[in-house]
Assembly symmetry: C2
Homo-oligomer: 412 residues x 2
Amino acid sequence: MPPVSPLAPERFPDLPPIAGVRAAAKACGVRYTTGRLDVALIELAPHSSVAGVFTRSLTASAPVDWCRAALAKTGGHGRAILVNAGNANAFTGKRGQETASAEVQATARALDCGAHDVLLASTGVIGEPMPAERITGHLDALAGDLAPGGWEPVARAIMTTDTFPKGATATARIDGTTVTLAGIAKGSGMIQPDMATMLAFAFTDADIAPEALRTVLREVNERTFNCITVDGDTSTSDTLLLAATGRAGNAAVTDPDDPRLADFRRALEAVMTDLAQQVVRDGEGAQKFVTIRVRGAASDPAAKRIGLAIGNSPLVKTAIAGADANWGRIVMAVGKAGERADRDRLSVAIGGTEIARDGEAVPDYDEAPVAAHMRGREIAIEVDVGVGDGRATVWTCDLTHGYIDINADYRS
Amino acid sequence: MPPVSPLAPERFPDLPPIAGVRAAAKACGVRYTTGRLDVALIELAPHSSVAGVFTRSLTASAPVDWCRAALAKTGGHGRAILVNAGNANAFTGKRGQETASAEVQATARALDCGAHDVLLASTGVIGEPMPAERITGHLDALAGDLAPGGWEPVARAIMTTDTFPKGATATARIDGTTVTLAGIAKGSGMIQPDMATMLAFAFTDADIAPEALRTVLREVNERTFNCITVDGDTSTSDTLLLAATGRAGNAAVTDPDDPRLADFRRALEAVMTDLAQQVVRDGEGAQKFVTIRVRGAASDPAAKRIGLAIGNSPLVKTAIAGADANWGRIVMAVGKAGERADRDRLSVAIGGTEIARDGEAVPDYDEAPVAAHMRGREIAIEVDVGVGDGRATVWTCDLTHGYIDINADYRS
């Protein structure tokens, strides 16, 4: 086991129970024989709304296929989420679908709900047959263990190469009623979500109808999970689910543009930003957390693509690992991003010090604070590409020997 | 200095002199103080045709800007190529243009030709002012040293993190006349050419008019340098120049579709494929050479994009470094490439053994030959994505600790 990331938060946050949500985790030996937790069951109160965003990969896993179909069938409702680590049930053909079906049936029996009320997520090795019976055989026990709160073991059960469990919480006011949000996520390689990160689950007791929940989730996802990258690789299994149990007692919100959702949006963005950043902080081999702010682009999406080009450049990421303020590589990445940029108006700042302006190095800039900044854990890069008003923030980590160690060995 | 790549050819090939081409190399201390060769001057006979392809980067270097302008002005002719390593003269603003201009003027004086007959290429650190006088002060000496042949020191003078000099040669028949080609190239990081690799120069004594030369060069470039990747990063300085001196005595060819060019096309593709593969074989930290053949794609360009998605995936590249036949990661890369692929018809073969077919693992395939293949130096991956007739071949290398070592230190 690699040591805990030096960028990890000091401890798992105090996540409150969410009214209408119960959870349990168990060591089922899906792949690991060390007794580590690897299956989580989460139960949602009747009538809960569920919204999901999933990988855009064309080689999506069987659980992703299932979730899409189930949410379409129920119109955005759900009663349970079953998650396992160790095997992604991806690229497993017809057998993979049968396995997913067996998991759903067993869960529906254990919780006395409909099959399409059960959502699935799997993470781990791709292309190996999924041993369904190792999960289905434990469902009655998991159902018996269901309890409110208890997020940390659930967050642990979904980890693969993660070195710490990830959780976040916030509260919001809807129409005078306080609603609570809690979320968990896992990383930590194959991370450049093209809808959501590998696996993230968020819960709230707010009463928000499916269509409104879906719209808010997609919108916030674009600015949070879709703005992180560890290695530019997009998982077959990316799944982000947001469940709203409606137990807080607010008057139900059905319109995504309802102004009463403003504070909920803010709180959801806070939770999802926190989780997304924790995924980056646990990026495989990460030693430094990098915030890339791009402005002056032709549009916000253009700014994001430039930010991701910088955040995915192996040369930029290794320079950061080496504490080298190598802004020439940042310029290179801007140049290859395929978005409009004016070379002769480009400026770059590192750690708040402008080191390039109008297309060339700032003569005699003070290197001392930049060098000190580069030696730290938190790196800030700002780029103005000089053509418009588009802006975006992207988060990534450095590329270190640790990434090679993990991935030249681990079969994921 | 890192040791020579284990994938290097046994020795620099015997490159013949090209009639109408003379060259010289010198240690000018542009950046290196170790006395290593770092400037090369190549003289072309009067009336030589010159074709070039350059980086598509929006942050192109001053020499790239100059070459584009010069070739436009002369209509595809040239008398000299001046190349240096150690400083790319990229992102150097107005001073960079003045430096390029000073180099051109000094060369034109030394060789008694027009300024626009001089082509420039620079490679090395980005964003540092280029010390022009370290080059211009040596031009008379370089001009005095010009001699036919002598390719190896010239190939050495353009190296940066390269561990071996790269050359290739071939002959072709045009209309009964034998023409000869010789080329040199350098890598070896920031390599996913988006027109040409960082620097490559090819020469022939054939008589081919500029327009025809340009067309053939672009066409062959698409299948050679534009099919390699080391790290997915595109240089600000990518430059590929092909000069034809017309000294072989063939009747001049002016039409790119002239059937008399067929054998020349073949020979040029052989030289450029050889050079492009040598660039990959000297990829930073490379321990394995990887050939990725994609078929069944919607089109040839789609196949190439899928091949590059596989060849750029850090997870695929680290798996290869670890000798792990991790085809799940290959499937993941196909899924994220953004091109059409049929998950349930996808097949993957490694080292000639089919290990996945129709969207799932081949049951009980023989792992022994695959494991043996993965331990070798030359890795062959074949993918059929099951939707059409498009095909492409892409070459890359593995991602190792060596890449991190080189790039967390070297400021390029």
